[in-house]
């Protein structure tokens, strides 16, 4: 299969690693010199750019978390001057405070190139019509795929999300050969098409789907490929890294992570140490060339495995497999999915309690019992029991609204809950003990 940039994509592994090392070294020197945040964090971790003497020295560098971005909202993290910025994207913030990502012209170019390689690896190119049914706007999906598709010389049909019947008409009339959207939207489209009397498999020229931005399974892939007569490729990225960046190639054996763009590690989320090759762990990414919002050892929170063997397609870059879960693993309480981040989000708007919390899950008889422990904020104590009970029921009510499952609230003294960096430690699940 042809590559968009064969020199890079098929570069022998030792040369790739050498290139990564040079890029890493440059990045670390640049950030140490120009980013107060990185400078302070490196000093706090007693690491100096001179300590980076080979690629594996990356593990000497401190991690970055989503929290760091939130704490520096909206743009305190940016390392490019304002004059250099050409775009913002803002994450949806459904699981917390939104994060703002800034881009320089070079950043957009890097992102677009990453997708140009990716789309080419899915067999797309000149002559293809790519219907971009990701949302256009603050979300990175629409504009990201749009630019990537244009770069490879495909025709872009920028339909964005919604107006599904019209999308299906256009797909037929303009002969879309590929679509980029969420897996659930493609399923919806297939159903709407059938109601219109249109078979996507027989009545359209659609052959390829680039699906992502939400979790999906191999089972869904099989079903969609057979039902819609397409090849479905998984796409990966997060707004913090620019947006969707990496896809599977036609081998469908994991996302190719372009080594000149990203240095990936898979680590044990508890110890921070690398896992053995092929083992499951938390994906950690260093974006080697970003200007506006650089990321060193950014812990995305996705659980996956990595394969460094060259791919049968001829590309030498490592592959990351389908995301298997989140570090802040969701809890299932009486059949309802609960994310600790939802609890965090619910508590944010209640000044009477602190931001720290602990979730304790137990089983009472046959039923799951969820308790959220929160700290009564200094200053919101008034001596009256009824006032405290009111705060308690206010928190319980808000949690029920956010989680759709009842949680008992226990108010505790300020400062009494453990402080952890990782969200996972905020959950005590006694059901598994």
């Amino acid at each position: 299969m042809r590559s968009w940039d064969p020199r890079i994509e098929e570069m022998p592994v030792p040369e790739l690693k050498e290139m990564q090392y040079r890029l890493l070294k440059t990045l670390v020197y640049r950030l140490y010199s120009f980013s107060p945040f990185y400078h302070d964090r490196m000093v706090a971790n007693k690491v100096h750019p001179d300590d980076i003497r080979e690629l594996s020295d990356v593990k000497k560098l401190p991690f970055m978390f989503k929290k760091d971005l939130r704490d520096n909202y909206p743009d305190k993290f940016f390392t490019a001057p304002r004059e250099e910025l050409v775009r913002y994207h803002v994450s949806s913030g459904t699981t917390g405070k939104p994060t703002v990502v800034g881009y320089t012209e070079n950043d957009l170019n890097l992102w677009t190139n990453s997708l140009a390689r990716a789309l080419t690896s899915c067999g797309l190119g000149r002559g293809d019509t790519i219907q971009v049914s990701y949302g256009y706007g603050l979300f990175t999906g629409g504009l990201g795929l749009h630019y990537g598709a244009e770069r490879i010389g495909a025709i872009v049909l920028p339909t964005s999300v919604g107006n599904t019947e019209r999308q299906i008409e256009l797909m037929q009339d303009l002969g879309s050969t590929a679509i980029a959207c969420t897996p659930s939207y493609l399923l919806h489209m297939g159903e709407v098409a059938e109601k219109m009397g249109v078979s996507i498999a027989k009545d359209t020229q659609l052959k390829t789907a680039i699906l992502g931005a939400e979790p999906w399974t191999e089972k869904m892939r099989e079903r969609m490929e057979e039902w819609l007569g397409i090849k479905a490729y998984d796409i990966y990225g997060t707004s913090e890294l620019s947006g969707p960046m990496f896809t599977e190639c036609t081998e469908q054996k994991g996302f190719h992570i372009w080594s000149d763009i990203a240095l990936t590690e898979v680590i044990d989320p508890a110890s921070g140490e690398p896992v053995a090759p092929g083992e499951r762990g938390e994906l950690t990414v260093t974006i080697l060339q970003k200007e506006a919002l650089p990321m060193i050892r950014y812990r995305i929170g996705d659980i996956t495995t990595m394969d460094e063997e060259p791919c049968p397609c001829g590309r030498t870059h490592p592959r990351v497999h389908r995301i298997q879960g989140r570090v802040d693993d969701m809890l299932i309480i009486r059949g309802i999915n609960v994310f600790p981040s939802q609890v965090e989000h619910a508590l944010m708007g209640i000044p009477e309690v602190g931001q720290h919390f602990q979730i304790v899950v137990d089983r009472k008889g046959a039923l799951d019992d969820m308790m959220v422990r929160v700290e009564l904020a200094p200053g919101s104590f008034s001596d009256k029991i009824t006032d405290i009970m009111h705060i308690k029921s206010k928190v319980e009510h808000k949690l029920l609204n956010f989680l759709n499952v009842k949680a008992n609230v226990e108010l505790v003294e300020p400062g009494s809950l453990p402080r952890f960096e990782g969200k996972s430690k905020k959950v005590v699940d006694k059901r598994s003990l």
Binding site: L376, F381, D383, K384, I388, E410, E413, P414, S416
Partner: protein
Amino acid sequence: MDTKKYVIKQISVFSENRPGRLAAIAHALGEENVNILAFSIAEADGFGVVRALVDHPEKAKKKLVALGFNVAFTDVIAVRMKDKPGGLYEIAKLLGDANINIEYSYAYSGKEGAVLILRVDQVDDAIKKISAFGVQLIESSVFH
């Protein structure tokens, strides 16, 4: 009448309902050489409120806040009761008839008789009614 001198500053501390919390509070006050003259614990769902009359409320609050406790001051009054059957009834009826609500109360029996600590919704009115009835209120200066 000057009701102010009868208004006593009570210290209230939010506490988790688990072993050792009262000890932590009492230890902190002891360290500061603060004497506890009267106290009570109210417990609710998973937490409690420790209320106390102490000889140095500001010092007590400063210390407890420094240790991370949630602390509040509340105005209460102290009434010297007849230490005999019917003593409590007299005061409760007096306030009830005046439509003054007792939010909570606790008592101790000291050297000079029984003392009732009252948290009421209308402090000034309560002081006036009780004085007019001829019952002795204890001045705050006796405590601190």
